[in-house]
Point group: C2
Chain length 260, copies 2
DNA sequence: GGTCCCGCGGGACAAATGTCACGGGCGGCC
DNA sequence: GGCCGCCCGTGACATTTGTCCCGCGGGACC
């Protein structure tokens, strides 16, 4: 747009929301350093030397990028910015910033990680579907879990990419999605189909989630507001359904399939 | 490392050898190794000169990049390739390929992830230290765990970067390391110092590692070749030292500090 | 009405887990 | 030498965990 600096009202970039682990919180200050790393603001320098083959007749693809890992986010943004038909108009690091940012900048496509602080990318995708139907969603995640793919499809995502595989796939996938196609790894689709939907009931998932960090039965009961006996029963049935022998194994198995 | 690569549902690209350079990306793959094999008695002080913008006659900084996540690896390689004083001469996706590739292409600096399939980047760094002393090591990891930093320093790494923070830091850190400086996040260094070394003995770590996936005492005993009673004792003492109440909490706590 | 399923909880029980006290052997260090 | 820490093991014990069977209430469906 017409601005020049990261101080614009809506689409300022990386919110400073914290990322787990790092003791040193490094605040926003993502200001793209000059020179080669153009960054996302479109008009920073007039001399962006991309060669436009067809003049102005095609508007660039406006991309919102949601990814918590700073280096990954920056690298993807720079790379996409190098493509002459793609423009990164917003970057967010937290899941609960996605929808607000999207309605502010109205991108053509949202590139969402799943595991984000604050809110799952799948959740955000579902809300985006109703709040901003013109924006297509492309999920980009580390783990190709069958359940993730299933939920992504149910949330209305148009594509599902794993972070393995070459970077070149990314721009290609974006263009294909914008053309209305669906892009999904075929092997992953097969796995998702064969795995079937989650056999776990809602309560079982809750209890497993609460048990994931090593909490005792009493702890879980306190968090989920259930009796200890009930918690044991749910744990037991979850263990049975996952074919495991522990709550620990059950948690791992459920995570493995994307059921949590 | 809860992650590593538990499921191979996706397209199993990550072969252990060099990564195929994309058709569009002119990223230097191992094609460059042929040129390097000739002159081996190079000056012991590679490229100590400051980066002079525009000066072409100085040799570019030769970088080896070890990172398992394909997209991250590709993005970093492309980005570093854009810098006019840096050249990515090798990319590996598995930890057990690092040393072999390094002695083959003799890079100036090795950019290593820690959590890699096959072998830890810290291990590889330690061996690199003796096998190829001219090559400096810069650790690039997702998690800024105090124990990781400590072990990286003990392995002779010259720098420690977390994958948060802007991409621009990367090239800067590479140049600084090549100049002989050490680059470490100050906050992280303070945390590592205050946390002290791991209180866990070797066996306790082994047992915790074996217990990480929800194995029973009998399973652990079988894996570590110990009596079940002994396993219980080690687990108990590990639980005590970490100040937790379960093996599950103990595993999480130990992971959190980088003690595993 | 009846019947079925589901969420929720209780109680009893076996198995696993966590704790403690106690041994012996080995190596380093004052 | 004595002391200490780590290694490895045993046995006993309390607690927790996992399993099974039971009951209650409510909603859906016939």
């Amino acid at each position: 747009m017409s601005d020049a600096h990261p101080d614009q009202a809506g689409p300022s970039t990386t919110s400073s929301s914290g990322v787990p682990g790092g003791p040193g919180g490094r605040a926003g200050t993502d200001a793209a350093r000059g020179g080669a790393s153009g960054g996302e603001a479109e008009g920073t320098r007039p001399g962006v030397e991309q060669t436009r083959p067809g003049a102005e007749e095609t508007r660039r693809i406006r991309v919102l990028l949601a990814e918590d890992q700073g280096m990954m986010r920056g690298a993807l943004a720079l790379l996409l910015g190098l493509e002459d038909d793609i423009e990164v108009v917003a970057q967010v690091a937290a899941g609960d910033r996605i929808v607000a940012e999207a309605v502010a900048v109205r991108p053509d496509i949202a590139l969402l990680d799943i595991e984000l602080p604050g809110r799952s990318g799948l959740d955000a995708a579902a809300e985006l579907r109703t709040r901003l139907p013109s924006c297509r969603v492309l999920i980009l995640t580390t783990f190709g879990r069958p359940g993730y793919l299933r939920r992504a499809m149910e949330a209305g995502a148009a594509g599902f990419l794993v972070k393995d595989g070459p970077v070149e796939d990314l721009a290609v996938a974006i263009r294909r999605v914008l053309r209305g196609e669906r892009v999904i790894d075929p092997a992953l689709a097969a796995a998702a189909l064969s795995a079937g939907p989650s056999p776990l009931t809602q309560r079982e998932q809750d209890v497993l989630n609460a048990a994931a960090d090593g909490a005792t039965v009493a702890d879980i009961a306190g968090r989920v507001f259930l009796s200890e006996s009930t918690v044991r029963n749910y744990l037991s049935s979850a263990i049975g359904k996952t074919g495991t022998r522990n709550r620990m194994e059950a948690v791992r198995a459920a995570r493995q399939n994307g059921w949590l």
